[in-house]
C-alpha cells in the first residue's frame, strides 16, 4: 500500500482547485504551416501540439481500405517531456494510447468519403503533467477540424480520478502519482456519446458512476472552449481575407 499523502486540504486540492474544477486550458488553432491542420493546447502544465495530414494517399498501399479512409493516430511523448527522460520512439503505453485515441474519433470522422485515403493525426507531448491523452484528444479534435476533415462532431476528453478517497476532476501529476484511481474518457458532447473509456486503480460502482457524470459535465465545458477557439480562428481568416480583397 502507498503511504497516504495529503492531497486535499480544507476541501481544496494542492493547486487550489475544487473537486470539480478543470485546470486552465489554452488553445491555439492553426499553429503549424506545413500541416493541413494543427492545434497547440495546454491543459494545466501539459503542453501538446497536434497536426493532421490528409486525406492523402495511404501508404503502405496494402493498408488501404477500399471502402473508407484509414485513420492513423500517433501519440508520442518528447524525450524531455517527463521527469525521467523518455526513451524516444513508441513504447507499449503509447501504442495502446494511440489505439484508444484513434478509436475515440472513429464515430465522428466521415471516413467513407475518402476510400483508399489515409488521414494522419500526430500528437506530440512537449511537456507532461498527467492527463496527456485527454489533452492530446482535445488538441487532435481541433486539428482535424482545422484540416477540414469532414466530421459529424468534435470530440472532447477529460479524466476523473480518486485522491484521498474523493472523486475529483482532471488529476495533475502529483495527484495521479499518489491517487487511487484514474479514468480518462472521451465524449461527443452534443449527443453525450462516450467514445473512449479507460480506468485503472480502484473504484466502487457508485464512485464510478459519480466520476463518469463529473467527466461528462467537464467535456461539455471543454467542448465550448474548443468551439470558441475554432470560431476565433476562422473569424481571423475571414477578416484577413477581407483585407486582401
Amino acid at each position: 500500500m502507498k503511504e497516504e499523502i495529503e492531497l486535499i486540504k480544507d476541501g481544496k486540492r494542492l493547486d487550489g482547485r475544487g473537486f470539480d474544477e478543470l485546470r486552465p486550458i489554452k488553445i491555439e488553432v492553426g499553429v503549424l504551416k506545413r500541416a493541413d491542420g494543427s492545434c497547440y493546447l495546454e491543459l494545466g502544465d501539459n503542453k501538446v501540439i497536434a497536426a493532421v495530414y490528409g486525406p492523402r494517399e495511404m501508404h503502405p498501399r496494402h493498408a488501404q481500405d477500399a471502402k473508407m479512409a484509414v485513420v492513423k493516430f500517433r501519440y508520442n511523448m518528447a524525450p524531455f517531456s517527463t521527469d525521467d527522460r523518455k526513451r524516444p520512439g513508441p513504447d507499449r503505453r503509447s501504442v495502446e494510447i494511440s489505439k484508444v485515441c484513434r478509436e475515440a474519433f472513429d464515430p465522428v470522422i466521415m471516413r467513407e468519403l475518402y476510400p483508399k485515403a489515409g488521414i494522419e493525426v500526430y500528437v506530440e507531448l512537449l511537456q507532461s503533467d498527467a492527463g496527456t491523452r485527454t489533452a492530446g484528444i482535445n488538441a487532435a479534435s481541433i486539428a482535424l477540424a482545422d484540416a477540414g476533415i469532414p466530421m459529424k462532431d468534435i470530440v472532447s476528453s477529460i479524466a476523473v480520478g480518486k485522491i484521498n478517497g474523493e472523486v475529483v476532476l482532471d488529476l495533475n501529476a502529483v495527484e495521479d502519482n499518489n491517487g487511487e484511481a484514474d479514468m480518462p474518457i472521451a465524449m461527443i458532447a452534443r449527443t453525450n456519446t462516450i467514445t473512449a473509456l479507460q480506468m485503472d486503480g480502484r473504484l466502487t460502482k457508485e464512485e464510478f458512476e459519480r466520476g463518469l457524470k463529473l467527466a461528462m459535465g467537464a467535456c461539455h465545458q471543454i467542448y465550448e472552449l474548443q468551439r470558441a477557439a475554432l470560431v476565433t480562428r476562422y473569424n481571423q481568416n475571414y477578416e484577413s481575407k477581407k483585407e486582401e480583397r
Binding site: M183, T191, L197, L203, T204, M216
Partner: protein, 257 residues
C-alpha cells in the same frame, strides 16, 4: 479481400440474429460459453493455467525470478505482463513484434491485477534496492474464437493463485505462495444493435462497434476498465455494462477460482 467479404456477411448474419433476440450459438445475451480452467499445466512455469471459453483457448504461464527493483520502488516486487498473438492461433495473426491488439490485451490484464493490488508487492522484496521477485505473466493465445481478454485475465489470476515461489532454486527461504489479496476477474461485453451481449464470440466481436471490459474484485469494486472499438456508447449503456460485468465476474470467481 476474401476474408473481408466473408466477415461482412458474418456481421450481417450476427446483427440479424441479435435483432431477433438470438445468438449464433444459441446462447442468451447474458450467458457465457462453457468455461474450463486447468491449472499447473506447465511444469517449468511457477504458475500456469489453460483457460477455455468455448473454443477460445489461452495458456498463461507465470515465471518468477529474482531481479533488480525499479529505482522508484526499491522495496517492491515487479509485475510484467506480456501477450503474444502467435500465428498458430488465427489466420489473422502474423509473426513479428507485438501489435496494438496484443499490447492492449496485455495491458488490460495487467491493469486489472495492478489496480486491485491483488499481489502484495511489498512482500516480494528480497533485499531492498537490490533484489526483488519479478513476476512475469505471459499470455499465449492458442486459438482465437473471441473474447481473448476474459480468458487471459482468468488464466492470469488462476496462475497467480496457484503459484509457487522458487525460493530453493535461488538459495532463499521464505513463503512459497504468492501474497495474494484479491481476485480480479474480467468480464467483456459488446454492444450490437442496442443490445448488450456478454462473452462475444469471434463473429460477435467483429460485428460489434464497441466492446467494454469491466474488471472487478471480490468485494464488487472495479479495478480496471477498457472500451475498445470504433463505436460510441451512452452513459446508461456503460452503467448497465458495469452492473452486468460485476455480476458475471462474481459468478466466474465463485465457480472457477
Amino acid at each position: 479481400m476474401g476474408l473481408e467479404i466473408v466477415s461482412d456477411v458474418r456481421t450481417d448474419y450476427v446483427c440479424n440474429l441479435v435483432r431477433n433476440g438470438k445468438r449464433e450459438d444459441g446462447r442468451g445475451f447474458r450467458e457465457y460459453r462453457d468455461i474450463s480452467v486447468e491449472r499447473d499445466v506447465i511444469k517449468r512455469a511457477e504458475g500456469s493455467a489453460r483457460v477455455k471459453i468455448g473454443d477460445t483457448d489461452v495458456l498463461v504461464g507465470v515465471k518468477v525470478e529474482p531481479g533488480t527493483p525499479f529505482p522508484d520502488t526499491p522495496d517492491k516486487g515487479v509485475i510484467i505482463t506480456n501477450a503474444e498473438l502467435v500465428p498458430l492461433a488465427s489466420p489473422e495473426f502474423e509473426s513479428g513484434p507485438p501489435n496494438e491488439n496484443s499490447i492492449q490485451l496485455a495491458r488490460v490484464v495487467d491493469r486489472g491485477i495492478r489496480g486491485s493490488e491483488a499481489i502484495d508487492l511489498d512482500k516480494l522484496c528480497i533485499e531492498e534496492g537490490e533484489k526483488v521477485w519479478m513476476v512475469f505473466i505471459d499470455i499465449h493465445v492458442l486459438d482465437d474464437n473471441g473474447n481473448l481478454t476474459d480468458a487471459a485475465a482468468l488464466g492470469a489470476i488462476a496462475s497467480l493463485l496457484n503459484l509457487r515461489i522458487p525460493n530453493e532454486r535461488y538459495g532463499l527461504t521464505g513463503e512459497n505462495t504468492l501474497p495474494m489479496r484479491d481476485t480480479p476477474v474480467a468480464a467483456t461485453m459488446v454492444e450490437i444493435e442496442g443490445n448488450i451481449l456478454v462473452d462475444p464470440s469471434f463473429d460477435e466481436g467483429n460485428a460489434a462497434a464497441s466492446s467494454v471490459t469491466v474488471i472487478s474484485n471480490a468485494d464488487g469494486t472495479l479495478s480496471g476498465m477498457q472500451k475498445s472499438g470504433s463505436g460510441g456508447l451512452k452513459e446508461a449503456q456503460i452503467a448497465e455494462m458495469v452492473e452486468i460485468g460485476i455480476e458475471k465476474a462474481g459468478e466466474i470467481r465463485g465457480k472457477y477460482l
